[in-house]
């Protein structure tokens, strides 16, 4: 199995799906000759030509609006919005249309599109290039919101997203694009959308995270095991909507303690919903208050300070230890 970065794994998913199904069309700004500013669509233009890999004018609303039309027709557009910070330009096309066309047309027209977009900080980028606003999409009925945490699941989930009959918002953590490699099988591999996974097993504490934050969470869990003798169970959500609340509530029923880690601002962020589900489904198992380790409720600072904004291993550990100490 080749060892691939997440960029390469995503590229593989697109390439293979395009080879299999001529309804799959890639479109967006600079996705063609340039191969995308992060190179996720590298060489697709050369292989499939300009009718399959479409460089569009600079207009996010149109990219999404056109994708909706293409999807209604029966194609499977995979559009790229260059940075999630510019996906608010097309917010209304998703809220007003993509998420409800199936409902509005009483089942006549589905919108099997994928909106891929890089999100999150950690790559020393300019303003608007480091935000995490996955909560917006997660709150929209009719959408699916997927966030992989590494090359292998990124590839498998993107394939599933492309084949999904409903619109999928697919957030790619920039910080993971080239952070590490994983073995990714050449053969077809999919993963169910709407299912989380246990990234690490443990009985003492449940740590719930997703996307880029899965890594520092895993690191923190390792350190807890090594230094504190605490075995944390790490849940990697993978899909935020529909949210798989079975897996993490089961985990908490076992550990009695939960913390949630994300980059997005805390207030009204994804952690709130996870916390709410925990209370609704496993209240009587909770030994201590659920904790959230998240971005602050401010605009993420320019990159010189961003590592003080984004939850670090240290910050995760601090909270985890506080929770465990509270138990002594």
């Amino acid at each position: 199995m080749p060892k691939l970065t997440m960029v390469q794994a995503l590229n593989m998913a697109l390439k293979q799906e395009m080879e299999k199904d001529d309804a799959v069309i890639v479109l967006g700004e600079d996705v063609g000759l340039d191969g995308g500013v992060f190179r996720v669509t590298d060489q697709l233009y050369q292989q499939f030509g300009e009718n399959r890999v479409v460089d569009t004018p600079l207009a996010e609303t149109a990219i999404v609006g056109m994708s909706i039309g293409m999807a209604i027709y029966g194609l499977k557009p995979v559009c790229e919005i260059q940075f999630s910070g510019f996906s608010y330009q097309n917010f209304h096309q998703i809220e007003n249309h993509a998420s409800r066309m199936r409902w509005r047309s009483q089942g006549r027209f589905g919108v099997p599109m994928v909106l891929r977009t890089p999100y999150g900080g950690g790559v020393r980028a300019l303003e608007h290039h480091s935000e995490s606003r996955e909560a917006f999409w997660s709150h929209m009925p009719g959408l699916k919101m997927v966030i992989p945490s590494g090359p292998r699941n990124a590839r498998a989930l993107l394939v599933s997203a492309i084949r999904d009959p409903d619109p999928v918002i697919f957030y790619e953590a920039k910080a993971l694009y080239r952070a590490f490699r994983e073995e990714v099988p050449e053969e077809e591999e999919t993963m169910p959308i709407g299912k989380s996974q246990i990234a690490r097993e443990g009985n003492d504490l449940t740590m719930i995270s997703y996307g880029a934050m899965t890594r520092p969470t895993m690191e923190a869990a390792s350190e807890l095991a090594e230094k504190d003798g605490v075995e944390a169970e790490v849940v990697d959500l993978l899909t935020l909507s529909p949210l798989d609340d079975d897996l993490f509530t089961e985990s908490v029923k076992k550990t009695g303690k939960a913390m949630i880690i994300h980059e997005a601002p805390m207030s009204y962020g994804p952690g709130a919903e996870i916390l709410a589900r925990l209370v609704e489904k496993s209240f009587y198992y909770l030994e201590v208050p659920v904790e959230r380790v998240t971005g602050f409720d401010i605009i993420i600072p320019l990159f010189n300070r961003e590592n003080h904004y984004i939850p670090s291993v240290k910050r995760i550990l601090r909270t985890a230890r506080k929770m465990m100490d509270g138990m002594k």
Partner: protein
């Protein structure tokens, strides 16, 4: 060439064939079969009468808010008349008679405007998008459909309707630009009815015509008398032919008038004069078309009456059917239908919650 005039293509035609008195310009008269002329005529009358009936029902509280179309029958029918079954129909929210032409059952309007989701009912073989409320936004879907049509090597077209107000939205701009860049088979039909709710065209843009906006995107725009069904038909014919031939998009500005309120929730007396409305009444698209058909010996007073009768019967049937359907439809649990292709677990839970609530209420009653 220090200070020189750039030679930009800036040609915009105005087309009028049947004038306000119903006199036709013989040279420009389009070649339409008698049957088809009568089909269009009947549809125009149907649209008018149905509008009146809906207004009536709304005033009686039997349906909710809706946007009347009176005055815009020619603009809608002259354009939609060119579409084949396989072409894509992408309406805004004020294309009632065009929707009927495309096969939408009249009773579905009554259901829809009575708040029933079942008021949208599109057969698998109908390439009709459901009406779209967010102004201007649907034009982009037409662009995507047209792109797909071409990708699949078909010669279908996508036709999309919108108002004068819609030309101010960013979505309109982006749709026009994409259509131009990709040279897509889209026809942009602007029903310039002079008003966007209370905002007159003069406050909407400083552009002399709306048609000329097409020039900014490198494709043709034409302005037509939108109350002259022959002019609209002719302009649309050219546009559709161009699109089918692979020669790209066209924008057609139909100069017409919104004779009624914006929607039944609106009171136009707050912002426009009766005189203005009366002035436009003289330009009525149906009266002049009737005159034309009489002159052509396709219509006589008795026939007019029989068309009217026939149309009214159809409408009555639709009303009856709708009222019957309303009694059968409306299961609250159906609100979970079509949320996704497959209902995800959390919605199963929520649906069960509602089912339980409904059952409990039943028990108590």
């Amino acid at each position: 060439m220090p200070r020189s005039k750039i030679d930009i293509p800036c040609h915009v035609d105005y087309l009028s064939i049947l004038d306000e008195t119903g006199t036709v310009d013989k040279e420009l008269e389009p070649d339409i079969s008698d049957d088809f002329l009568l089909d269009i005529y009947k549809a125009m009358v149907l649209g008018r009468r149905f509008d009146e009936r809906m207004l009536n029902l709304q005033r009686q509280g039997r349906i909710g808010t809706f946007p009347p179309i009176t005055g815009q029958e020619a603009a809608q029918l002259g354009t939609v008349a060119h579409l084949r079954q396989s072409d894509w129909f992408v309406p805004s929210f004020r294309e009632m008679v065009a929707e009927i032409w495309r096969g939408r059952a009249m009773e579905t309007f009554l259901l829809y405007y009575s708040g029933y989701n079942e008021g949208v009912d599109i057969a698998e073989d109908q390439n009709n998008l459901p009406l779209s409320v967010p102004v201007g936004s649907q034009t982009l879907h037409a662009v995507g459909l047209a792109w797909a049509v071409r990708y699949r090597k078909k010669d279908d077209v996508a036709m999309t309707w919108f108002g004068d107000g819609a030309t101010s939205e960013g979505d309109f701009h982006e749709a026009m630009n994409f259509a131009g860049v990709f040279r897509l088979p889209v026809i942009f039909v602007c029903q310039n009815n002079q008003w966007a709710i209370s905002v007159p065209l003069s406050k909407q843009t400083r552009s002399k015509t709306l048609a000329q906006k097409a020039l900014a995107y490198g494709f043709p725009g034409i302005q037509v008398d939108g109350n002259d069904v022959l002019a609209v038909y002719t302009a649309a014919k050219e546009a559709v032919e161009r699109a089918r031939a692979g020669d790209g998009p066209t924008m057609i500005e139909c100069v017409t008038y919104r004779m009624m309120m914006h929607t039944t929730a609106d009171d136009p007396k707050r912002y426009r004069s009766d005189e203005e409305v009366e002035g436009w009444r003289k330009k009525d698209p149906i009266t002049r078309f009737e005159k034309y058909l009489i002159d052509k010996n396709l219509l006589e007073p008795k026939k007019i009456e029989s068309v009217d009768q026939e149309v009214k019967e159809q409408i009555q049937q639709a009303v009856d059917k709708a009222e019957k359907l309303m009694k059968e439809l409306g299961d609250p649990l159906d609100m979970f239908n079509h949320a996704y292709a497959q209902l995800p677990p959390h919605l199963e839970v929520q649906k069960a919650y509602l089912a339980k609530e409904l059952a409990e209420t039943m028990e108590k009653e």
